[in-house]
């Protein structure tokens, strides 16, 4: 079993998801190679080489991979696929973008968003917004798999893999990068944070999210949101937690002014401890909450901040 894992990074830092995706890969087999594709990404390769369980780091350093365009990245992976039994990436917006292309070009199925590895060909994945859990077995020679990072622990940084350059350049004529506007934040990333505090429609507007910020600052927490809060323009799209947003499983998740629709629960119900603050005692969020506080958030939040 030889496994090629796609390393996710922002040119400066290896994303914390990658150490978790590597963990999943080591459960599929023991010869794990990590591909670092990007522009000026040598320092990423060095970070990647430290991940335990990685036998080799392959670096494709070229402007063609600078913005991780799906067309170029997929063609690179297809070119490299020979000799690998598994191609694995995180189920992030990057992995979701190019991996199905890799699968189609190799004429194999993709197993999306796995939360468990039963064996080298059998995987566990949620369907129907996590209301059912499927165990699936693939007959394909090359298994193309995306991994839900929140379901795996990170490997540690005790490794020292060899680094090798890959000299493959793939450039699509028909797709080009225009701009990017990335949210700047001092806070931990949603998918990596130990504590997440999320606001919903009950927050009423974007300014009121400052009530969550005070608490997040004290707890070192990331801030998330429901779809309703994002759609209403209170906060940015990349803060959406749920079936079709980000999946989180922190030690502590605090849902404020969120009713608990199945699509939201799909993104947070594997958190270790869940707190819900909602003024409606019938809100479905209380069915998954370890600690429910029936209260007006505009009173509860300032008090909570002062008592932390």
């Amino acid at each position: 079993m030889s496994i090629l894992v796609y390393a996710e990074h922002d040119t400066e830092n290896l994303k914390p998801e990658t150490a978790k995706v590597v963990k999943a890969a080591t459960q599929m087999g023991d010869d794990v190679h990590l591909l670092v594709a990007g522009e000026n990404c040598q320092s990423i390769a060095e970070q990647a080489a430290k991940l335990a369980g990685v036998a080799k780091v392959l670096v494709a350093d070229n402007a063609a991979y600078g913005h991780q365009l799906a067309e170029n990245t997929a063609d690179l992976l297809v070119e490299m696929a020979g000799g690998y039994t598994h191609i694995v990436a995180g189920a992030t917006t990057t992995g979701k973008n190019f991996m199905p292309r890799v699968a189609a070009l190799l004429d194999v199925a993709q197993i999306s968003d796995i939360i468990g590895v039963e064996s080298d060909d059998t995987f566990i994945r949620p369907i129907y917004a996590g209301n059912a859990i499927a165990t699936v077995q693939t007959a394909d020679k090359v298994k193309v798999v995306t991994v839900r990072a929140a379901s795996f622990d990170a490997v540690d940084e005790s490794g020292s893999a060899d680094i090798e350059a890959v000299d493959v350049v793939k450039t699509s004529e028909r797709s080009s990068f225009v701009t990017e506007s990335l949210t700047e934040s001092e806070r931990p990333e949603l998918t990596a944070a130990d504590i997440v505090i999320s606001g919903g429609r009950g927050m009423q507007n974007g300014e009121n999210f400052s009530l969550l910020e005070g608490i997040a600052d004290k707890l070192g927490a990331a801030i998330g949101a429901s779809r309703a809060a994002v759609d209403a323009g209170f906060v940015a799209n990349d803060m959406q937690v749920g079936q079709t947003g980000k999946i989180v499983a922190p030690q502590l998740y605090i849902a404020v002014g969120i009713s608990g629709a199945i699509q939201h629960l799909a993104g947070m119900k594997d958190s270790k401890v869940i707190v819900a603050i909602n003024k409606d005692e019938e809100a479905p969020i209380f069915q998954v909450a370890d600690y429910g506080l029936v209260a007006d958030l505009f009173e509860a939040l300032p008090e909570l901040e002062s008592k932390l």
């Binding site: 209301n131 797709s175 600690y291 909570l304």
Partner: protein, 250 residues
């Protein structure tokens, strides 16, 4: 410009499914079915492009048994011009769906294909990207804004860190995210009109595509239930529990 919109019949998003007692599948008996919400957004976008004069025809296609004609009719009521049902009784995987759609693309030669980013049943998030790969079209996935200009389309994409804009040469594949638009409701007169719009039925077997499944579902089980929690009386009790019982804050 012609736009092709693949739509899928799925469970209504409000329904919380249950798993069958024999762990073989989810139980869809009598479940309320609907058009996949992301496909509805795709239809809306195509219809808006037609209303703006950018597109002149919107064709919807659904792959499935006869019942998916309901969802094709829904799309026609929202403003699509004609429908195609690719008929099959099999529950196909995204790869096979993408292969069939690639054949439809060959026949119809659309300048743009707009799909949903994800089906809310399989939660696959694959078909659009696979179709793009199979047809050699560039892709703009998870779109929150689409702007067509001079044989090109600019797509603003919702990504984990924020937003990214790419420019694609047409023909191109786009998949929709939630913020792309808010779909309209079909009016009664439009629902009546939709009944008379053309709907072609073509057997999947006629497309000459390999439809064998690659993935076997061994079992489907319910997710672990969370233990019911408690209600705390006030903020003081909440802080006390988090510190001393759950030990998640200090």
């Amino acid at each position: 410009m012609k736009i092709l919109v693949p739509v899928k019949r799925t469970i209504d998003y409000n329904v919380k499914v249950k798993v069958k007692a024999d762990s073989s599948a989810v139980d869809l008996t009598n479940a309320k079915m609907a058009i996949n919400p992301f496909c509805e957004i795709a239809v809306e976008e195509a219809v808006r492009l037609k209303e703006k004069g950018v597109a002149d025809e919107v064709v919807v296609v659904s792959i499935g048994s006869k019942s998916c004609q309901e969802q094709i009719r829904t799309a026609l009521a929202l403003g699509a011009d004609r429908g195609i049902q690719v008929e099959t009784e099999d529950a196909l995987e995204s790869l096979q769906i993408a292969k069939l759609l690639a054949k439809v693309v060959e026949e119809e030669s659309p300048e743009m294909v707009i799909l949903g980013k994800q089906s809310i049943d399989s939660d696959n998030n694959q078909t659009g990207q696979m179709l793009a790969a199979l047809t050699g079209m560039p892709q703009g996935t998870f779109a929150s804004e689409v702007e067509v200009n001079d044989g090109k389309v600019k797509v603003t994409r919702e990504i984990d860190g924020g937003l990214q804009t790419v420019e694609l040469t047409l023909p191109a594949v786009i998949t929709t995210d939630l913020r792309l638009n808010e779909p309209r409701y079909a009016s009664l007169p439009n629902i009546m009109k939709a009944k008379r719009k053309p709907l072609d039925v073509k057997p999947a077997a006629d497309f000459g595509v390999e439809l064998e499944s690659h993935v076997k579902v061994l079992k489907v089980t319910p997710p672990p239930e969370r233990q019911g929690g408690i209600k705390v009386a006030d903020v003081d009790e909440l802080v006390e529990k988090l510190k001393n019982e759950a030990k998640v804050i200090s």
